[in-house]
Structures are given as C-alpha cells and as structure tokens.
Point group: C2
Chain length 142, copies 2
DNA sequence: CTGTGTGCAAACACTTTGCAGGTGT
DNA sequence: ACACCTGCAAAGTGTTTGCACACAG
C-alpha cells in the first residue's frame, strides 16, 4: 500500500502491481506463518486468477523472498524467508487441527548425520502437534 | 508368491489377492525404500488400476504395515514399517537426482524442542542430497 | 454365499503451460 | 514503446469416490 512496501517489491526488481504488493505485504505482516496458494487467494483483496498467484509465488521463490514448506498431506505452503536466513534447513510446525503452518526460524537444526552411502546437503523438518489456540478451544478453526 | 508371503497378508487380516501379495512382497524385499503409487504400479507384474493401488496403500497404511513419506515436491511415498518401529518419527532421505527415497530406520531422532506455544507430538524429517549411485554416475537414473 | 477386492468412470485438488491482451516503467 | 504481468482456457499429475461385478473365505 505505502511506499514502504512498494520499495520491497522494487528491491526485488519486480514491477509494483496490486497483487504483488498485497502478497508481499501479507507475507511480511505474517512473518511466522506459511500459506498455500489457496490461503493466499483468500486473504488477497483483489480478485485474481489462481494462475497469477502461482506465478507470483514462483517469482518470490526465485527471489528467495519466501521459501517452501511441504505439509503433511503434500500441499505446498510458503513463508517469508527470515532476514539473513537461508531458504533451507528451517524447522516448521504444522498444527494437526487447524492445519496452520508456522516457520520456527529460531529453531534451526544442524544437518543430522546419515549413513555413508548418502551425501546429505539439506533437510526439511516438519513438526506436528497442536498450537496453543487449538489446545484452548476444541473447535476446529481455520 | 509362496506361503511365507501369503501368511503376511493373512497376518494383516486381509484376503490374499495377487496384487496384494505382489505389493506386500515388494515392500518386504525393498525394506529400505519408499515408493509412490506410480512406482508401485510399474513394479507390479499384473496389470491393475491405479485406484486399486491407492486402495491397497490405504489398507496397508491402516494396518501400519507401511508408513507415509512426504517428498520434496509433495508426492506421497510409502515404505515398510521396520519391525517393532513406530510409524512416526522416522528419518528419510531423498536423492535429488534419481528421486529415490530411503527410510533411515537406524537414524531416529528424538522430538526436538519447540516454542511453548506449540505442543509437539511427532515430526517428519526429510534429508536431501545425493545417493552414492548418483554420485558415481552423473547420468540421471531412476 | 457373503463380504471384501477390483476395474471403470468420474470427479476433485493442486499445479503448470500457451496465448492474447493489459499495465508498469 | 517495450517488457513484463495478468486472465482465461486447457491440460497434466496425484488422489478419491461411487457403482457394478468378481472372487477369496
């Protein structure tokens, strides 16, 4: 909306369109959470095509502004890459009730050791359980 | 084929059909690897419908004979549950070249600590890199 | 014979691609 | 003005469901 966010889009060498501004703003305002294309489409005000969301995601991925999280059921979600962080080796948390996914940027692990027949380069860690909100209130809320 | 495998199917309280026998045998003969529906369909001799493979997978999952692995691209694969092991908290390895997935049953981790706002119950760890076969030979082999 | 397993058709969810027209710079 | 962005249509992949028939027990 404001110049501040325009700048983010521009810093990424991207054109400042309404959709991109909304998506980028949403990621920065919800830095600890990951969103699927579906979730993004719902939070974005301006009506837009799913294709465009996918393409926006792909663009932001290439710029490493966001990183990918693979959820329990195979759905892909995306979260803001914490400033100064790598896009790999984050630990994520998926609530099995509300299905929200969070990026635990403070909880990076080191690459575990593996048998010698493998050459490990990176990892993807998804912790499952329930978030406090769901603990408190038994009804399933998205 | 033999009585030995018939028994496995029967131990699971399932009817001994040709497809199930083939699938169960394949999992036991390749205990360290995970397979997608697609991969299973290719290794199974008798022609069969994809639906049936999916249903067989679902049945074997319920019996906890196999467990699920979520791959980097969101595709689901399945591997034999090591005898005496839980179906959760395994560590898996995915080769980024040949895309084979392995179950590192010896490398179970303990559940990492997470911020207090989360109640962790289980985790899913996927290590990525290259397997020895792909290291040796640069050509992409499936 | 009975309940379970299977094939077929259809549908669904997620994702990608091609093309034509619209918009930011 | 040009390159890039978007919407629409279509297709591809992975997965599930309903129904009728086949087969293991």
């Amino acid at each position: 909306m404001t110049e501040k966010h325009d700048k983010v889009v521009h810093q990424l060498s991207l054109r400042n369109t309404r959709l991109r501004d909304e998506v980028v703003t949403h990621f920065t305002n919800n830095a600890g959470r990951a969103f699927s294309e579906n979730e993004l489409k719902q939070v974005v005000c301006s009506p837009c095509d799913r294709t465009t969301i996918y393409r926006t995601i792909k663009t932001l991925l290439q710029k490493k502004f966001i990183h990918k999280v693979v959820c329990e059921n195979g759905v892909l979600k995306y979260a803001l890459t914490p400033p100064g962080a790598s896009v790999a080796n984050h630990v994520h948390f998926e609530c099995t009730r509300c299905e929200k996914v969070f990026c635990l940027k403070e909880y990076s692990l080191s690459l575990p050791r593996v048998p010698e027949i493998f050459n490990a380069e990176s990892f993807h860690m998804l912790i499952k359980g329930s978030c406090k909100e769901c603990e408190r209130c038994p009804s399933k809320n998205k």
